[in-house]
């Protein structure tokens, strides 16, 4: 039986260890952690030989099912499901219903099914089909079928529907899964809904906690897509604070959205354990490179400004990223980020990447993705380290000092 132990919980920030995963006694996962965002099982832009150049890649790969649900019959032929189909080796596989980086068009769910957007168009998924997908895909973990199509503007009535449907589908799925060979209590994550209605949120949390689920996934604050990186988290945070207390502490909590650094920290303070790496993907898609500083120990020997090179005058970095489309990088022969040990920074210059971006060459996304994903995983490593060293607040301060400041040109 999967075990999740919370080792410490300070300022609301949980640090834990996951062990005894079904069929994987060898694996230990420390939280807070970030799963590897993938589409169709592959990290966007990176072939597996290139993806393997990223050090410290987490042991869980996140696969939004929309990218593969249209190929169910092909996956069914594979003995180990999606692991064989997409050649995924040893990593643990977690399936989510929606893709956090892809916009979901609202208003398409009904009482029987959820609209999932594949590249071929809309596919309506009902509990029966969802169970069929899970039997075929064989994820280690997966989020339950849920109606997360709510946000700040959604009416109370619609929010209640979303909570009720999601619970009803959960029961139907559990019933169906128990008849199949999927060990749902070790794999299935119940999904909490309730929009911005606190009583609905509490109801959803309490009810879901009663079901035999392996963990929880929190959604329904906004519909998926790149825009979620800009959400105002203040209200969400207080709602999370209040509702997560109704969950058992020994089960992990996943939340999806495009997570810029400060939101990751806010969500940690609200009690979230597991994130996805759609943020570095979104940054790559806008041809930018992450340069934010997470070295909270203040050992920065060199201070980096987004406009390239080092500058002893400047006290901190400004903003999280630099835009490689910017012509000022044309003749900048330094790496994306001084001191970064990623494959891209060890080999290529801003000048070359700027050229690739401006000539719209595919290698631009490859090189930026390697760096951005590496940087983001390093950020999470430093989050865990900061908790261990009791320096979380210093990290928080450092991140906030770089937040939302417009880039100087």
């Amino acid at each position: 039986m999967m075990k999740f132990v919370v080792r410490s919980s300070r300022n609301g920030v949980r640090s834990g260890v996951i062990t005894e995963l079904p069929g994987r006694p060898d694996v230990t996962i420390e939280t807070p952690m970030c799963m590897v965002y993938s589409r169709t099982g592959s990290v966007p832009h990176l072939t597996p030989d290139v993806a393997s150049k990223i050090d410290g890649t987490p042991l869980i790969t996140h696969i939004p099912i929309n990218s593969l649900i249209g190929h169910l019959s092909a996956v069914k032929q594979c003995k180990k499901g999606i692991r064989d189909f997409a050649v995924l080796g040893d990593t643990l596989l977690y399936g989510s219903l929606q893709d956090p980086a892809e916009p979901v068009f609202p208003g398409k769910n009904d009482k029987h099914s959820v609209a999932v957007w594949s590249k071929g168009g809309r596919i309506s998924v009902n509990p029966e089909m969802y169970v069929e997908v899970q039997e075929a895909f064989k994820f280690d973990w997966f989020a339950a079928l849920s109606d997360g199509d709510t946000d700040k503007q959604t009416s109370r009535k619609r929010v209640r529907k979303s909570v009720d449907r999601t619970l009803q589908w959960l029961d139907e799925s559990i019933e169906k899964l128990q008849k199949s060979d999927v060990q749902s209590s070790e794999r299935l994550f119940g999904v909490l809904e309730g929009g911005f209605e606190i009583d609905q949120r509490v109801h959803s949390a309490k009810e879901t906690a009663l079901r035999p689920v392996a963990g929880f996934c929190i959604e329904g604050f906004n519909t998926a897509g790149p825009e979620t990186e800009k959400v105002d988290f203040t209200e969400i945070k207080s709602i999370l604070h209040e509702t997560l207390t109704h969950l058992p502490s020994e089960k992990p909590r996943i939340m999806h959205q495009v997570w810029p650094p400060h939101l990751v920290l806010e969500a940690l303070e609200a009690g979230i354990d597991i994130f996805d790496s759609s943020f570095p993907y979104i940054v790559t898609e806008r041809n930018a490179a992450l340069i934010f500083d997470f070295k909270y120990n203040g050992t920065r020997s060199q201070v980096i400004k987004p406009n390239g090179g080092s500058d002893s005058e400047s006290a901190t970095r400004v903003g999280y990223e630099i835009d490689l489309k910017d012509k000022r990088f044309e003749s900048d022969f330094s790496g994306l980020l001084a001191g970064c040990s990623c494959y891209t920074c060890r080999n290529f210059t801003r000048s070359y990447i700027c050229h690739l971006v401006n000539t719209r060459e595919l290698l631009a996304s490859v090189l930026l993705m390697i760096h951005n994903v590496h940087h983001y995983f390093e950020f999470f490593r430093h989050i865990r380290l900061s908790i261990q060293e009791d320096k979380f607040l210093e990290l928080l301060k450092l991140i906030n000092s770089q937040r939302n400041v417009p880039e100087k040109t």
């Binding site: 832009h45 190929h71 000048s351 690739l356």
Partner: protein
């Protein structure tokens, strides 16, 4: 002395094919060789390291594109293209003239050079042989091409002759303007359209110059294949044996095999990498369109006998689920297609060394054309070098 040496390792006893070791400043290249095209200083999302892993020894970049962006000044600052793009092996650049004439509607050829309208600001610009050399010297490729007077291979009449003579004059200007002879090799380009006399005349003149290698130019532009192979054939008959022969713009599998038999050493073509983007994979029997529904449940790799990363790992069904949707589909098919081209040339070299090339060609052609509907030009070309198809 030139910055290259050519050592003939083996010759086919039937055809004109040969295996050579071409030693260039950055790499020893085994010929006959296919050179993938990385137009803007990058090959379709593939890392230089991945290309090395495939066994690629030389690749091509385009002077017109690089001269435009990032431009020769930046390339010089960056320490040349090798350093900038992190490619440690051999590079070849074209002169920029062909791209200009084919990409820009307003290009006009004068004795001075190729006059064109700047795609930036519409101002009038001129690519002279001297300017082409200046840009190519800044790129620093192991092999550079002279600027030639490009006429369409379907043109006939006095314009062809004029272009041939002008190409010789421009060769002399290029030789004079080339500033880096110790590290870069300048190849002459044989012109003369589809006219045997003009081709021979051009070769006679050009071989008087001490250039390190020759390209066969002005072909592969939509001319009839019967004309194409004859021009290739007469060119390899008269070009000096001890210098490399580069057949420009040729890269379809059948063309590679036939023209290797005709005695060409080097080839380039955008087709294998360009077509990968649309999910077309090259296989011994021709091409697979991975988009097609028939591959949706096909658990086989693209090619059972291919050892590339893609074929070692992925099924046609998986590739089908991602082609034209995810960039990695493009990368995976590109890797395979480059591997296919390089393997094909490896088999050609191996059968030349074992002196079994005619047999190899027979089997290869039968696999490509299982109903023996061989293209007539290939039948004719191969029979002139003593190969009869099955």
């Amino acid at each position: 002395k030139h910055a290259l040496s050519l050592k003939i390792l083996g010759e086919c006893s039937t055809t004109k094919a040969r295996v050579c070791q071409l030693t260039l400043p950055h790499q020893v290249v085994d010929t006959p060789v296919f050179m993938p095209v990385g137009t803007q200083g990058t090959l379709k999302g593939i890392l230089p390291e991945q290309l090395e892993d495939l066994g690629c020894q030389i690749m091509l970049s385009n002077t017109y594109h690089l001269g435009h962006r990032p431009g020769p000044e930046l390339l010089t600052q960056a320490g040349g293209l090798h350093n900038w793009m992190r490619w440690n092996r051999a590079l070849l650049t074209d002169s920029g003239g062909f791209q200009m004439v084919s990409l820009l509607k307003l290009a006009e050829i004068t004795e001075q050079g190729v006059k064109f309208e700047s795609p930036h600001d519409g101002s009038e610009m001129m690519l002279t042989p001297e300017e082409s050399m200046r840009i190519q010297n800044s790129i620093g490729a192991d092999i550079m091409m002279q600027l030639d007077d490009v006429v369409s291979s379907t043109t006939s009449g006095p314009r062809v002759e004029e272009a041939m003579h002008r190409s010789i004059r421009w060769l002399d200007r290029c030789i004079k303007a080339h500033k880096n002879t110790s590290k870069q090799n300048l190849f002459a380009i044989v012109q003369g359209g589809l006219d045997e006399t003009l081709r021979n005349q051009c070769i006679e003149e050009m071989t008087k110059r001490d250039v390190p290698g020759f390209a066969i130019g002005g072909l592969s532009g939509g001319e009839e294949k019967q004309h194409f192979w004859k021009m290739v054939n007469i060119s390899t008959d008269s070009l000096p044996k001890e210098k490399p022969r580069y057949l420009m713009g040729v890269g379809y599998a059948v063309d590679l095999v036939v023209c290797s038999a005709l005695g060409c050493d080097m080839f380039d073509c955008v087709f294998p990498t360009r077509t990968a983007r649309f999910g077309t994979a090259l296989v011994p029997s021709g091409q697979l369109q991975l988009k097609k529904e028939v591959y949706a449940n096909d658990t086989r790799p693209i090619d059972d006998n291919c050892e590339c990363l893609t074929c070692r790992n992925y099924s046609r069904a998986y590739l089908h689920s991602i082609v034209t949707k995810e960039t990695i589909a493009c990368h995976l098919v590109t890797l395979h297609n480059v591997a296919y081209q390089l393997n094909l040339m490896k088999y050609v070299r191996k059968s030349i060394m074992e002196d079994t090339l005619p047999k190899f060609i027979q089997n290869f052609m039968l696999e490509q054309f299982p109903h023996k509907q061989y293209p007539q030009w290939a039948v004719d070309a191969l029979s002139t070098v003593g190969v009869t198809l099955l």
